[in-house]
């Protein structure tokens, strides 16, 4: 789980929206940290209880589109189920991606940040830099 890695979410500048960056020693870790970065815009993830587990799969063979699809499926699932996610785990075999995420139902006691509408293809990149993978894109808020 990304929560146990040394990587932390980062952000980059965008005029109207927010650029998110996830880094890790694997593509999957980079995706997981990017998801943390995105949901940390919505609330303080340290206060979210990982009580409920959700699993899903998707297919995508383009790494960059896989990042956008992963993030947008998370947003869609969160709103569909009225949840906020705080722990993220994803792994892939070829174009098939398996995900398990944990969180809890949204409640008024959680810190109110800003709603994320969707992950965009702007400034989208998934690349290896030395021994690390970096996944980044702009999310629309």
């Amino acid at each position: 789980m990304a929560k146990n890695t040394k990587t932390v979410p980062h952000y980059f500048e965008h005029d109207a929206d927010v650029g998110i960056i996830g880094c890790g020693s694997t593509i999957e870790q980079a995706f997981e940290v990017a998801a943390q970065a995105m949901f940390a815009i919505v609330t303080n993830l340290d206060t979210v209880q990982p009580d409920v587990s959700i699993a899903f799969e998707f297919e995508e063979d383009d790494l960059e589109l896989a990042l956008v699809t992963w993030l947008n499926l998370l947003l869609g699932k969160a709103r569909e189920l009225g949840m906020i996610f705080c722990r993220f785990h994803v792994h892939h075999q070829g174009k098939l991606w398996h995900a398990e995420v944990r969180g809890e139902k949204w409640h008024a006691d959680l810190e109110h940040g800003v709603e994320v509408k969707g992950a965009t293809l702007t400034m989208l990149s998934v690349k290896q830099i030395g021994a690390m993978w970096e996944a980044r894109c702009v999310v629309d808020v």
Partner: protein
């Protein structure tokens, strides 16, 4: 933005000259020199990319409030001809399909409201679901939601939210044709189940405003505006459903562009020929998203009315106008002396039909379409009227436009302190998100006065009235 790259055609109109070997359509930028200087270079890069898309008619255009978006710049306008291989782009519409502003005029004066302004702000904050995770009282199943997607604001009125009179003052009388609910994913519909009648967050708001200054008395009379009058503006869009349509089709259209041999200078310009299967599917879904937004604002207008009646029993709120600023619409425009049917993308730009346009309500036909430029919660907003001979496919600015990024705003301001400072200026803010308030700090936006002035000087729309904020419910 470095003005050295541009050529000034008129005081408020600029173009980007072609570089040797560059192949693209014309780029036109409306605005004053100070506004253009304050724009990020990315605006220029993005609009030049739009000008490379197939089937572009005329120029790819930016409004005076343009800023860096995704794919298209926000404040971007581009028209495409289906008969010439023209495209439809999800990035040219945006995630928040048909985001827009409903403006309501009241029979109340500032002096009526001032003694109970705090109570009014509190009650609006309790009544209007706003912010992350907030749901509306209305829960719809898929079948009911399909009716919303076909009926728009008309559906909402049929359910008892508002009156028939509202519909006359909404673009397309509250319901666009061509919506195909079957083209909207199940996930999009599930996301919307609890979100009808919700404001959302970010730059969305419900604001109580006072008419502070009239610029054009004839248009103000037609719009029913007087100095000292209380106005309500509601800024929001198609909520989770629209966001999910944007999400679903962004990836689909990006792949379709590759299949159709369309070179995308930026992947975010994800598009397909209007006449392609994918293009037609997106148009059907987007129109469903537009109707969702129109219904959403209709419900919110109704909730605002009920709250006003509770606090001020003799109050009456009439719809002044409802304008969308994230759309692609099929419109007839005169190009080179010929009437052509075009798909006009307006991403963060407002339609601004001039006087005499057949689609305008009779009451406004002589003066032009009401155009609303929403400013920040600390400065104010403008009501304008569409100008005759608007040279930008009848388009106008939609807001002040950001001057600082959200990250920069967060590092400069704190939500609680801002709320306190604005209260001292007589502006009451109600929000559950201190982060959201800080990101939306008035100082993070451009000078709305400059944007409105440039909009008028460029011949896009005429200033009619300036609205000063008194209370604001933020998501």
């Amino acid at each position: 933005m470095d003005l050295q790259q541009l050529h000034q055609i008129q005081p408020y109109l600029w173009t980007l000259p072609l570089k040797p070997g560059e192949v693209r359509g014309e780029v036109l930028l409306y605005g004053s020199a100070p506004l253009l200087v304050s724009m990020d270079d990315k605006v220029l890069e993005q609009i030049a990319n739009v000008a490379q898309l197939p089937g572009l008619v005329g120029a790819a255009i930016t409004m005076p409030d343009a800023h860096w978006g995704y794919g298209f710049p926000i404040g971007g306008v581009a028209a495409f001809d289906a008969e010439q291989g023209g495209i439809i782009s999800a990035g040219g519409v945006g995630f928040d399909i048909s985001c827009g502003i409903r403006c309501l005029r009241s029979n109340l004066r500032l002096q009526d409201v001032t003694p109970r302004l705090s109570t009014l702000a509190d009650r609006l904050f309790q009544t209007i679901p706003a912010g992350v995770g907030e749901e509306g009282a209305l829960k719809l199943d898929t079948k009911q939601l399909d009716q919303v997607l076909l009926g728009g604001a008309r559906w909402a009125v049929q359910q008892g939210y508002g009156t028939e009179a509202d519909l006359e003052y909404i673009e397309e009388q509250g319901c666009v044709t061509g919506a195909v609910p079957a083209n909207v994913s199940e996930l999009a519909k599930k996301r919307q189940r609890g979100e009808m009648g919700t404001l959302g967050s970010g730059n969305h708001y419900l604001e109580v405003q006072v008419v502070d200054r009239i610029f054009d008395f004839a248009a103000a009379e037609a719009f029913g505006l007087q100095e000292g009058q209380i106005i309500i503006s509601i800024h929001c869009g198609s909520r989770g459903l629209g966001h999910q349509i944007g999400t679903d089709y962004l990836v689909m259209l990006a792949k379709a562009a590759g299949r159709c041999g369309i070179h995308l200078p930026d992947r975010e310009l994800a598009c397909a020929p209007i006449k392609s299967l994918e293009g037609q599917q997106y148009i059907g879904a987007m129109n469903a998203g537009i109707n969702c937004a129109l219904a959403n604002r209709q419900i919110l207008a109704h909730l605002a009315r009920e709250t006003f009646r509770e606090v001020f029993p003799s109050s009456a709120l009439e719809t002044l106008f409802d304008v969308s600023h994230n759309t692609c619409k099929i419109e007839k425009h005169e190009v080179d002396g010929r009437s052509r049917l075009l798909h006009v993308h307006r991403k963060g730009a407002t339609r601004a039909f001039g006087p005499g346009h057949a689609s305008l309500p009779k009451r406004y036909r002589a003066v032009g379409q009401p155009v609303i430029i929403g400013g920040s919660m600390g400065t104010g907003s403008y009501v304008l009227a569409g100008s005759s001979g608007n040279p930008a496919f009848a388009s106008s600015s939609h807001g002040a436009g950001r001057a600082l990024s959200r990250h920069q705003a967060l590092s400069r301001w704190q939500g609680k302190q801002l709320i306190s400072e604005l209260a001292q200026q007589g502006i009451l803010i109600r929000s559950r998100s201190m982060r959201g308030v800080a990101e939306e700090a008035p100082g993070a936006y451009k000078d709305v006065d400059l944007v409105a002035e440039a909009t008028e000087q460029a011949g896009l729309a005429r200033r009619v009235a300036f609205l000063r904020p008194k209370a604001c419910v933020k998501g």
